[in-house]
Amino acid sequence: MNRSLTVDVLFWCFAAGSVLTGYLVFRTDSMVRAAFWLLASFVGVGAILVLLAAEFLGVVLILMMAGEMLIMAVVMVMFMMNPAGLNPMFMVHQHRFAVAAGVVSFAGLSAVALTVDFPDQPVDPAVDATAELGFELLGDSMLVFQTAGVALLATMIGAIALASRNGRFGTADEGSLEPALDIEELESP
């Protein structure tokens, strides 16, 4: 088996896998399973990135998502308490519209992908993309890189401020309950 055929077979496996698992995210009864399916989808995309010679980005994507999905799973179990999928879970609204939007966006984007003539300039396999990215990060794009860092720092501070209980005006859960909140009405059959 020559190299390009192997790469093609791998690509289609990963592609089919990541789309399928992406779909399964919304088709499972368990929050934890949903998070793991999403993680599987990301791993598939990460692997495709590695095949595309964006080695560093692919691996970093997988690295990042491992932590993120664990947090997601834990948060979901914390707030929604359906860890084992004992209760069926089908919580959707405007379902038909959502399906239509999905189909239309897929058709539109695919049409663009298939009709537009993109320039054909593949990556030179001799180039070490990781090293090039490194020089770019700390060279011409230093400002972008630093901005991303500062944005992340600001996010961290903002997220802590939002999520923590004690704010400038006392504890967050005091005195701000929405008056007409009929939870029962929404949940009863």
């Binding site: 080695e55 664990l70 990781t130």
Partner: protein, 311 residues
């Protein structure tokens, strides 16, 4: 493209290394346990044979199912952990130019394998649908998320002198001076986190004694065997990477490179494995606090100092 072995040879060599490594872990553990127990005369036969006998015993034990368990997840978790150990081991070079795989992002691949351990442990604890495994899984979530950042920072510091993320280059860069001398904070941090990532001894919180086995409390037979093997393989993989990243890998006088690599790995294994018989279980809450408030700043100091020395 950097050096890769062809797939068949790669699988065989990683598998052989893992089998040897797991056995060595079991023997060190048995020896250290008997020394710590002060058991008078040493019983060499039992130390060498008991691991094999226990493997046979677990093969005869029937697997077990809990009520409404997630069977695929339960079966997948040990496989995932073992696969991660193998991935980590594959990027460790044993001699100049000799490695199963040497991608330009070798270090990131290893870090990704380490990050995925928490997914494997969480899956393993969550799928039996039982109390103690689930508590163990949540606990490991807190533990592993706190360990990730000091781990990444301690490892990244070793990439600075090499100016590369490829593990081969990192070992090459230690020809004159090992990283353990250059970054004295790095190795202790790495070992501490390594013990935590393979949840061994004092940092064995997800499978701890207070949870009567935690995530593996419901495991029997081959499930238990696979999980224990994968855990020992992880420990071995971490020791091998530690030897490459901090102890100069194959560099050393007189003996050939791979022998030095094996000796250094063995040394780190002895340190990590025997911690189980010498140090008590860590309390999770102070530990998480220490991770964020002490180890991350220490790792940052480590990385800044090594950066400043290079300039």
């Amino acid at each position: 493209m950097r050096a890769y072995l062809d797939p068949g040879a790669a699988v065989v060599s990683v598998a052989v290394a893992m089998v040897v490594g797991v056995y060595v872990v079991a023997v060190i553990d048995g020896t250290a346990g008997r020394l710590a127990a002060g058991a008078g005369r040493s019983d060499l036969g039992a130390v060498l044979l008991d691991p094999l006998r226990t493997v046979a015993l677990l093969l005869t034990q029937r697997r077990r199912r809990t009520e409404r368990a997630d069977a695929p997840g339960w079966a997948l978790a040990p496989g995932l952990l073992g696969g991660l150990a193998a991935t980590g081991l594959a990027v460790v070079p044993v001699g100049p130019g000799t490695a199963v795989a040497d991608p330009s992002t070798g270090f990131v691949v290893f870090a990704t394998a380490i990050a995925f351990v928490m997914i494997a442990v969480f899956l393993h604890g969550w799928s039996p649908n039982s109390l103690f495994p689930l508590i163990g899984a949540y606990r490991y979530g807190a533990q592993a998320l706190s360990l990730q950042i000091p781990f990444l920072l301690a490892m990244l510091a070793t990439a600075l002198p090499a100016e590369s993320l490829a593990v081969m280059d990192i070992v090459e860069a230690q020809a004159d001076l090992w990283n353990v001398v250059r970054q004295p904070l790095g190795l202790p941090l790495y070992l501490m986190v390594g013990v935590g990532v393979s949840f061994w001894g004092p940092l064995n919180l997800p499978d701890g004694a207070d949870l009567i086995g935690g995530t593996s409390a419901e495991d029997a037979g081959t499930d238990r065997l696979a999980w224990e093997l994968a855990r020992a393989a992880m420990l071995f993989s971490i020791a091998a990477m530690g030897a490459a990243a901090f102890l100069g890998g194959w560099w050393g006088p007189l003996l050939p490179g791979p022998v030095w690599m094996a000796l250094k790995t063995l040394f780190l294994l002895v340190v990590m494995v025997s911690s189980r018989h010498l140090v008590a279980r860590v309390r999770i809450e102070p530990f998480v606090v220490a991770c964020w408030a002490v180890f991350i700043p220490l790792a940052l100091v480590n990385i800044f100092v090594s950066g400043a020395l290079l300039l």
